[in-house]
Subunit: 355 residues, 2 copies
């Protein structure tokens, strides 16, 4: 403990990301990465950056990328914000919109970075338990919230709500800023980006790390009313003027332009997921209905830590969260077909040995 | 103004970076970029990133890069932190080490992001005027400071203090965290990185944007006692788990490995600077003694805004700061020899027309 630590450092418990193993080769199904490589046109775009471009600061406005995103979603450029991963975008949204006297809410089981940001910025937060079946009961959320964090689909459950449900929330709570985190939206959920022009209390956050196979490049986006985007820009420009480097800007633009590759890979992942869910259920596992590139599942009567360790011993990394309610559940990323075949084979063996 | 803005957004005045022109071609001497391209081995390293690597999250520890930096400076890996540009590293240092009840100090004329961070995090700051000749008078700084921000060389003056002066400060003020911002250190200053193992109240911040020609890739570093580094990591991991993308990590490592290119280009820049300073002084300009890759100069009796506009009209961008004390001074980045020849030629014409 350094005598120079601030109270913030003394009091926070940082987010713990999934393991990125360096030594042993695992089937890596623990951080919801896309099993397919970035599109060839993305790699080509990355390699087009010259030494003379690398010496210059990148465009702080990321205009070319934001133009592409705006056109893709039918928005204006001033409704689009980009950052160094959706985590950074979220980390800027909290101080942009919430005071230390406000209350924000999110479910007990959701992306575990939400309470970390709240602690970092000292924003009081109301943590509301999901219903028994991991469904969000919106009636449980008070009316007077300043902010509502909604991961859709939710993580780590994979359960989505409809766009109609989100729109009803926006109407019922005009004074609540609804932040819809659509990190996994492209695997079967209904995006509400198209509602951005109609609701000034909506901020939609997305990422290129999942459906665009670009976790390594760190690109996240926010879509919202121009005034909300200006709020994010104001925090960004008080923190780091140039958060997206020249390579990431170019790669991200190319990723959105290669629609065919995006469609092909996301459809493949959804097909693999459906097949995986059926196989896990055939083994007697409970599986949440997933609209994401992962499945959240449990083997009744068996401690999750045992299943996780068994898979790890056999070369497969999956994610488990220490929280009491879900400690026996595993979050398994949807990988390649052959990777999921191996997971299913291992779990079959495990169930047989138990039986 | 959105009804969702936080008090923070309402109260801050973001940093304004130098213009990055998109349309017209300028001789761009306004943001202290390196005139030489990134090293060929850096570009090769960037291009080695594959589509399968881009799909995976980058190493959150940036271990390979930190190993290279540690070896380069004779430090241990746990004395090295990396971030998305030195601006981000600074933006994490404030909340890591300073409370809203602490006092930090910096000069009136220095890197203009320091007061912006202080406003963002609501850290009370003591702004102490430089002496008449833009020298820092350390006796003016109270003893009981929690933090002291020292840009060495200072920006935008380019004036450096010796390592001996810095070490005296560290000894005299063991309870003050001294943050030495060495963004421009490789152009003639004396780095205090070698003091890191001996002083736990020293945090040295550097960047790859200047002497390593990598402004476009956004890589900054901090060097300090392991406990200070852990404080930075704690904030980073509560903000964004993976701030440095896979391409930036690989490029930065290659940049530090190509020592010959670094030496050649920084020597060339220093030689061009000396020649430029002599020519500007021959024109009757006052020029601060620069240990950086820019010169800070003024033409006595002429408004700075006129000279800046004249240069702009003739295709040269330079930086000027609106602050009263230095409003007639220009900060001119040291570019290629032929670029500086053009600046000198234009200023000669300007002086002749005035005379």
């Amino acid at each position: 403990m350094s005598r120079f630590y601030s109270d913030t450092v003394k009091n926070i418990s940082p987010y713990v990301p999934g393991e990125q193993p360096k030594d042993r080769r695992f089937i890596k199904l623990n951080t919801n990465e896309n099993p397919y490589p970035a599109s060839p046109s993305v790699i080509e775009a990355m390699r087009s950056v010259t030494g003379l471009e690398a010496r210059l600061y990148p465009d702080p406005e990321a205009a070319a990328l934001r133009r592409t995103l705006a056109d893709h979603y039918g928005l204006a450029m001033n409704q689009v914000f980009v950052g160094n991963g959706s985590d950074e975008v979220l980390a800027m949204a909290y101080p942009a919109f919430f005071n230390r006297t406000d209350t924000i809410a999110f479910p007990d089981i959701t992306y575990s970075f939400y309470p970390v940001y709240a602690a970092l910025y000292e924003i009081p937060s109301l943590v509301i338990p999901l219903a028994e079946d991991f469904i969000i009961d919106f009636k449980e959320y008070p009316e007077n919230l300043k902010g509502f964090l909604l991961a859709n689909p939710n993580a780590p459950t994979g359960i989505a709500v409809t766009a109609k449900t989100v729109e009803a929330l926006l109407r019922q709570r005009p004074n609540t800023l609804l932040i819809v985190d659509e990190a996994y939206i492209d695997f079967g959920g209904e995006s509400v980006v198209s509602l951005v022009p109609r609701y000034d209390n909506l901020l939609v956050i997305q990422t290129m790390s999942k459906a665009r196979s670009l976790a390594g490049l760190r690109v996240g986006m926010a879509f919202g009313a121009p005034e909300l985007i200006r709020g994010l820009e104001s925090i960004r420009d008080s923190f780091n003027s140039y958060t997206l480097d020249v390579v990431a800007q170019r790669a991200a633009k190319a990723a959105y332009e290669d629609v065919a590759y995006f469609e092909k890979t996301r459809q493949a992942i959804m097909a693999t997921r459906e097949r995986t869910v059926a196989a896990l259920e055939a083994l007697g596992m409970h599986v949440c209905p997933s609209s994401a590139n992962f499945v959240f599942c449990t083997l009744p009567g068996v401690a999750g830590v045992l299943v996780q360790q068994y898979l790890r011993d056999n070369g497969v990394l999956v994610r488990r969260f220490a929280m009491e309610r879900i400690k026996d559940w595993l979050r398994i990323t949807v990988g390649l077909d052959e990777e999921m075949d191996e997971v299913i084979r291992l779990l079959q063996l495990f169930v047989q040995q138990k039986g």
